[in-house]
């Protein structure tokens, strides 16, 4: 146990055209999370988001009516740090540097800015120039150049990736908040979708571009009130290695593996005393479907190169060994850079998910290099 809990979750609707500013989305999601925690804005004294979030902390405080912040931080690497935000919040509340920390992420990445489109200038650090000028100018291409090695090493095919997508879209089809609510697909649909990056990613392997906001409230376990529904943060971890300058890392000895996720997994299991067999449900960040394969193997849910068979055997289904991305994932629900997957993890432990897994004791949330394990208080 970390000694910290998530007491509140809140979100806007997920859409392709929110019709309002990202600051309004952030404020709406945050206020909903604060009220869900049984708190008022004046009770918040810490804020954490991702480095790429466009919402200024002070402006958000003003909109929310938060009076004083004594802790704030941002985690690097975009969605890589979705779960790392919770680690920062846990550090703040367990050290006494803050009492109640708001974690948030909000954007219009479809209606105002096409996150997945090629961009003329790298918006990140200068090292991106080593890739952009040669054609690696979208997230899909960045990641596909990593995933291709996995396909070659283990004989995984795009059709294998499609079986994951079919699973995610099945969950999304029964989640009213999901963009792809009531729109499941077949493997044939997947294979008929157009190539985005040949020979790795088809359209249905890619997450969405979404508008929306999600927020969480983290506090110390002994500060919970009667009205909230606390979920224990059993463990949280973040593992970064050098050279991942475009988040996908082209410099591992073996590109068909994911050592940062493996290290994160080791930290989570060491810190929680749990094993992969103790995980009842998993919410795994998938900007693109092959990432699920690499993460399943990094966490030891199956062996290297075995994810295709693991998925084909139905293990990710609601009654399978490891129900995964029960909200529909970032492919099916929305791409709020993985923070919506933390929210789904909270719902699974509370027992309030629309695709509820039976008797959830422990939920893993993985966001690339960071992750957390949620459990009952």
């Amino acid at each position: 146990m970390t000694g910290a809990v998530i007491t509140g979750i809140g979100a806007t609707e997920f859409s392709k055209d929110s019709g309002r500013s990202t600051m309004q989305l952030a404020a709406e999601a945050c206020r909903a999370a604060i009220l869900d925690a049984g708190l008022q804005p004046r009770d918040i004294d810490g804020m954490v988001t991702f480095t790429v979030d466009g919402n200024d902390e002070l402006q958000l405080m003003r909109s929310l009516g938060v009076e004083e912040i004594t802790w704030w931080s941002r985690t690097p690497g975009g969605g890589v740090g979705a779960c790392a935000t919770v680690q920062h919040a846990v550090a703040a509340v367990t050290s006494g540097l803050a009492r109640s920390v708001l974690v948030y992420r909000a954007f219009n990445e479809r209606s105002q800015y096409r996150f997945g489109q090629p961009h003329a200038r790298p918006t990140g650090p200068a090292p991106l120039d080593w890739y952009f000028n040669f054609g690696i100018n979208t997230p899909a291409k960045m990641y596909a150049l990593w995933f291709r090695r996995y396909m070659h090493a283990y004989g995984a095919t795009n059709e294998d990736f499609g079986r994951y997508t079919v699973s995610a879209r099945r969950y999304a089809a029964t989640n009213p908040k999901a963009w792809f609510f009531e729109r499941p697909i077949t493997l044939d649909d997947h294979q008929a979708s157009r190539w985005i990056v040949e020979p790795v990613l088809r359209l249905y392997d890619c997450c969405q571009e979404s508008d929306g906001g999600v927020a969480l409230v983290v506090t110390r376990a002994d500060r919970t009130t009667d009205v909230d529904a606390p979920v224990a943060i059993r463990a949280v971890a973040d593992a970064r290695h050098p050279d991942a300058s475009i988040t996908a890392n082209y410099y591992y000895d073996d590109l068909a593996r994911y050592p940062e996720a493996a290290q994160c997994a080791q930290l989570l299991f060491d810190r929680s005393g749990l094993t992969p067999a103790d995980i009842d449900v998993a919410e795994i960040y998938e900007n693109f479907s092959p990432l699920v394969f690499l993460v399943l193997e990094a966490y030891g849910f199956c062996g290297p190169g075995e994810a295709a068979g693991f998925i084909a055997d139905g293990n990710l289904d609601i009654d399978g060994a490891l129900p995964t991305n029960t909200h529909g994932g970032l492919l099916g629900e929305a791409y709020i850079h993985g923070i919506n997957s933390i929210q789904e993890g909270v719902r699974q432990v509370r027992g309030t998910a629309v695709n509820q897994v039976a008797d959830v004791e422990h939920c893993l949330v993985s966001s690339l290099n960071s992750g957390l394990v949620l459990g009952r208080v």
Binding site: D129, Y131, K141, Y250, L255
Partner: protein
């Protein structure tokens, strides 16, 4: 048409690479104290902490570790191209493009050799399959 990605913002830490490229040389940054090679360039050696460095001339030969076809469906590249991750014989890796690919692949593990071509005014290292 895609917008030009004309953004070669050489910094104090990597200007040497493009200076050498302008002479048709592929170089790798090398720690002057412990000899460790590194790419992309960095101001300090992560192995020993030295800020002293020189360069090693690469053989320009390597193999393809990974590759993709880069052809965006609704905002195409100026020309479709095969992007490759090359591991040089010296051990460092870099991203580049494959010149004149004869077929649709696969290109995994195939040997390549460097060939410099002009890219919007900058002599740039690309690679070609070799037998």
């Amino acid at each position: 048409m895609t917008e030009p990605t004309d953004v070669r913002r050489a910094s104090q830490d990597d200007q040497f690479f493009w200076d050498a490229a302008a002479e048709g040389r592929l170089v790798i940054q090398r720690c002057a104290d412990c000899g460790t090679l590194r790419h992309p360039p960095a101001p300090m050696c992560g192995a020993c902490g030295s800020v002293r460095w020189d360069t090693a001339d690469s053989s320009g030969r390597g193999r393809i570790v990974s590759w993709i076809s880069s052809q965006h469906p609704n905002r195409p590249d100026e020309e479709p191209r095969v992007v490759i991750l090359v591991e040089l014989d010296e051990g460092t890796r870099l991203v580049s493009d494959l010149l004149d690919p004869a077929d649709d692949g696969p290109y995994d593990d195939l040997p390549v050799a460097v060939e410099f071509r002009d890219d919007r005014g900058t002599l740039t290292p690309y690679f070609r399959l070799r037998s």
